[in-house]
């Protein structure tokens, strides 16, 4: 149960990062001092998948059921 909670948390964080760093209104131009632009449309996905799979490996317990809905 604890593992599932951690897993959900990690996945949720990655979902947040994928949106906050890569989506939404992107503004640039002379008026903007800085825009942190992190390209993770695809990279993010790789990290997402590897994180889930790596966690399975390290914890020795494969995900047998559907992932829990992130809270």
């Amino acid at each position: 149960m604890h593992d599932v909670a951690i897993k959900s948390k990690e996945v949720t964080l990655l979902e947040v990062l994928d949106r906050v760093l890569n989506k939404g209104v992107v503004i640039s131009g002379d008026v903007v001092i800085s825009v942190a632009d992190v390209d993770l449309i695809y990279l993010g996905l790789k990290v997402l998948l590897s994180s889930v799979e790596t966690m399975e490996k390290y914890r020795g317990a494969p995900i047998t059921g559907p992932m829990q809905e992130p809270t």
């Binding site: 990690e10 996945v11 949720t12 964080l13 990655l14 979902e15 947040v16 990062l17 949106r19 906050v20 760093l21 890569n22 989506k23 939404g24 209104v25 992107v26 503004i27 640039s28 131009g29 008026v31 903007v32 001092i33 800085s34 825009v35 942190a36 632009d37 992190v38 390209d39 993770l40 695809y42 990279l43 993010g44 996905l45 790789k46 990290v47 997402l48 998948l49 590897s50 994180s51 889930v52 790596t54 966690m55 390290y58 995900i63 059921g65 559907p66 992932m67 809905e69 992130p70």
Partner: protein
């Protein structure tokens, strides 16, 4: 004075309740005509791209979503003073208004489906083997074998794609019933069958969740990830040829990966 921008909202009124954003800074709404830019003021540039700051940014967007239609702005967008911010608002006013009207009363949901690609392929290979045994060729020369291997690989890819299309279509029929807009990506990796975002009207979100549970039930060998409701990050549409609004992919790729991994805590896993 630096203004850290969280989002654009469909209100020019001040935010009633006290909200605290990045590094505990107060969040306020700077009005422009009938819309507003939600910001925090800083005397020094905000430079800490920490996980905490990213989460704080997202939390503000979600808080705003409860009361307003919000166009979430990408993390770490900072303006040098109010005049620059208002100048941007003036330039983008029409685009912001169009988006706010389109996204009014709607929420974004994310769905990712991971399928057992290895098993799917194994199944396809076994099926192909059975049918090819029936049509076994007596002449097993190297040329023929080469051609047969090539054909089998082609057949495998084709069948794999067809199966993916079939599953995605079935799922999408259910989700689309309750969605105003959608963006689907098939097989970003072999395992990631579907990476989708749906824009759903607020009063249909329960139906949408139900559709997800309905789809999830019978597919026990698949892994489903449901996320949301989110501010409509994936559905903000802004003209790419605008002087002010453009994709600013200028950083070195290595820096991007490192920065992302640090934020994701990927070094720990």
């Amino acid at each position: 004075m630096k203004l850290y921008l969280y989002g654009i909202i469909d209100s020019s009124d001040q935010i009633n309740e006290p909200i605290y954003g990045l590094e505990g800074a107060c969040v306020c709404n700077i009005p422009y005509c009938d819309i507003g830019a939600v910001v925090s003021e800083f005397t020094e540039p905000v430079q800490n791209n920490t996980k905490g700051n990213v989460l704080a940014h997202e939390e503000i967007a979600e808080r705003l979503m409860e009361h307003f239609t919000v166009l979430p702005v990408r993390f770490h967008t900072v303006f040098d003073g109010r005049d620059n911010l208002l100048s941007m608002m003036q330039s983008c006013y029409k685009d912001f208004k169009d988006n706010l009207a389109r996204l009014h009363n709607k929420l974004e949901f994310g769905i990712k489906v991971i399928w057992p690609a290895d098993k799917i392929k194994e199944h396809i290979i076994n099926t192909c083997k059975k049918s090819s045994q029936k049509m076994s060729i007596s002449d097993d020369s190297s040329n023929k074998r080469f051609m047969r291997d090539k054909f089998e690989k082609y057949k495998l890819d084709e069948e794999f794609q067809a199966k993916a299309d079939k599953f995605i279509n079935i799922m999408d029929i259910f989700f689309s019933k309750f969605a105003a807009e959608k963006k689907l990506k098939k097989l970003k990796t072999e395992d990631l069958l579907l990476d989708a975002v749906y824009l759903v009207e607020k009063d249909k979100q329960d139906d949408f969740r139900e559709a997800f549970e309905h789809i999830k039930g019978p597919h026990t060998s698949f892994k489903f990830l449901f996320s949301g409701p989110w501010p409509a990050y994936n559905f903000v549409i802004l003209p790419k040829n605008s002087d002010l609004l453009k994709d600013s992919r200028q950083e070195d790729l290595f820096d991007k990966v490192v920065q992302y991994q640090e934020l994701a805590g990927a070094e720990k896993i």
